[in-house]
């Protein structure tokens, strides 16, 4: 199926990507080509097939809820574009 420019803009917003008007048509074309490849799946009857989420088909392993990591806050925050007093700084959210 082919995507419209409006659909591309909606998906881009969901993915928090910025797509310009010029790019939107190109993206629509690229994405539509891939969807055509994907749509081959629809020709197969899978009504009685259970979905397989994972090669093991197993549930998530659990571990005891204990603290195993040391506190490396300052070290980790050095990687941030902007941080101060243990906080990550972002543009103002609430006026």
């Amino acid at each position: 199926m082919a995507l419209t420019k409006t659909e591309v803009e909606k998906i881009a917003h969901l993915a928090r990507l910025h797509v310009s008007d010029i790019e939107a048509e190109e993206v629509a074309r690229g994405v539509s080509d891939i969807l055509a490849l994907i749509d081959k799946m629809q020709s197969v009857d899978t009504d009685n097939v259970e979905p397989l989420a994972h090669p093991f088909d197993a549930a998530q392993k659990l571990r005891p809820d204990v603290v195993t990591e040391s506190d490396r806050r300052d070290e980790l925050q050095q990687l941030a574009p902007q941080s101060q007093d243990g906080l990550f700084l972002v543009p103002k959210v609430i006026e």
Binding site: L17, H18, V31, L37, I38, V44, L76, L79, P91
Partner: protein, 490 residues
């Protein structure tokens, strides 16, 4: 010395015929001579490598016999390395210095390996050519106007051109096996869960697996011995009885049952590759193997299911890149949404954005059943195909790729490129182990034979590949490199 295998280097070091310092120096010189042309490394760590080499020589003098002691390795640039930049081939991580080592890195270092640097790759491992790297394409040592394959293209090119003795890679849909085939080396994708993924930057979490790229099956066994093992930090890593993958390399292939999937020898396969693979299979028959044709009826659907599942998981995994905690942030954002959108749009390349879009679409309200759930059902059909086939055979063999390494910039669109992975992708959906070993040359370029075994039967794969390499010398062929600076003999 630099052309030697890990097994040979290990013996030479133990016998005192060379030192880790001398070896590391020789590889660094080879990198200096050829990396400009190959662009196989994004980062070279000359000083820390020499320091590790000196430490390895001292440890040996003090009696250490760690399995990879003093042997130089290169890591794909999506394994986190403490203190050394880790980019995942992306602009969005251009300044990311990990505060910790990936488990794979840690295990290899504990085994004595010396890290030469970080290798080039398709951005976030999304690609089959290395052309989506933000750091420029890596080139194929056999022909500089050809791609080395991807996504572990830098690792494959580095091993093929003797820029390192061994390298790590990751494989989500063929990213170890296809570049190994294109560069004429040996690559192993272990079973899902065999190797810890902690500290490995995620692409598609139900498919990703780490493995070695090296010169021989024996080396792959030595590396897997070190890399494999359960890890509390990766809940998808599997606890299995300890295994020495080198122990069964010399087992006889008499009575081995080989299956050739008819779907892997049909339209689209380069006829010269077909002949080469059939000749390779004939060599295995001479060693006592029995061959039969098998049926993998859902082969064609694997690519379709993959291009739902992988992008869907990628869209979730890559949501962590938001310009807040690490990596690239856009200039002067006007508000939070602008910061998210522009940081991501300026930081990610085209192919990554395309896959995020596909994945977001497939998971969006109203489409989940038609795409993601449908793809998971196809995934079960693909896995069942293999399970059925393995009732009658021990190993499945076919070509790794439909064609030899293609020319740079020759793929017109994404879908054409995706179809290059037609033989490799199903294994990731099924979680099975697979290898590519050199099996001949087409148009002067190396081609690979893919071997597939049951879950956790890596030892069988390595045994078959090793026996094949005892009677063939495709894996010993070397590209002739014209030095951009100077050539060096170790």
């Amino acid at each position: 010395m630099i052309e030697k295998t890990v097994a040979e280097l290990s013996a030479a070091l133990a016998a005192g015929e060379t030192t880790s310092v001398a070896l590391t120096q020789a590889y660094l010189e080879q990198i200096a001579a050829h990396n400009e042309a190959l662009n196989a490394f994004i980062t070279v760590c000359a000083d820390s490598a020499m320091a590790q080499a000196r430490a390895a020589d001292e440890a040996r003098a003090a009696g250490s016999t760690a399995p990879l002691l003093g042997i130089p390795i290169a890591h794909k640039d999506l394994f986190c390395t403490a203190g050394v930049k880790t980019t995942s081939g992306s602009k969005i991580l251009h300044n990311f210095i990990s505060p910790y080592d990936a488990t794979v890195v840690e295990r290899l270092q504990a085994a004595g390996a010396v890290m030469l640097g970080k290798t080039n790759m398709d951005e976030f491992a999304m690609g089959s050519s290395n052309e989506s790297s933000y750091y420029g394409v890596a080139r194929n040592p056999w022909s500089l106007d050809r791609v080395p394959g991807g996504s572990s293209g830098g690792s494959a090119a580095a091993v093929a051109a003797d820029l390192c003795a061994m390298a790590t890679g990751t494989d989500t849909g063929g990213s170890i096996r296809q570049p190994a085939a294109f560069c004429g080396i040996t690559g192993l994708k272990p079973s899902y869960g065999r190797v810890s993924r902690w500290g490995m930057i995620a692409y598609a979490s139900s498919l990703d697996q780490a493995g070695p790229l090296c010169k021989t099956a024996e080396d792959a066994a030595i590396l897997l011995n070190v890399m494999a093992g359960v890890d509390d930090k990766d809940s998808t890593s599997i606890s299995l009885p300890a295994e020495d993958f080198t122990a069964t390399l010399n087992d006889s292939l008499k009575g081995l049952r080989i299956g050739l999937p008819k779907q892997h020898f049909t339209r689209g396969l380069n006829p010269a590759i077909e002949s080469a693979v059939r000749l390779a299979v004939a060599e295995l028959e001479k060693l006592g193997a029995e061959v039969k044709e098998i049926d993998l009826p859902n082969s064609d659907l694997a690519i379709s299911a993959y291009y739902v599942i992988a992008p869907a998981e990628a869209s979730a995994n890559l949501s962590r890149f938001d310009g807040v905690r690490y990596g690239y942030r856009c200039e002067n954002p006007v508000d939070l949404e602008d910061m998210y959108k522009r940081s991501r749009s300026e930081g990610f390349g085209e192919e990554v954005k395309r896959r995020i879009m596909i994945g977001t679409y497939a998971l969006s309200a109203g489409f989940y059943d038609a795409y993601y759930r449908k793809a998971q059902k196809i995934r079960r059909l693909v896995k069942e195909d293999y399970a059925r086939a393995f009732e009658d055979v021990d190993v499945i063999i076919g070509p790794t790729t439909p064609s030899p390494a293609f020319a740079l910039n020759s793929m017109k669109d994404s879908v054409t490129m995706y179809l290059e992975d037609i033989y490799t992708i199903a294994l990731n959906l099924a979680g099975l182990p697979g290898m590519s070993v050199p099996a001949g040359f087409v148009e002067g370029l190396p081609i690979g034979m893919q071997l597939v075994a049951k879950d956790y039967a890596e030892a069988k794969l390595l045994n078959v590949a090793h026996q094949f390499q005892q009677v063939t010398d495709w894996h010993k062929q070397k590209p002739s490199l014209t030095a951009s600076a100077k050539t060096t003999e170790a």
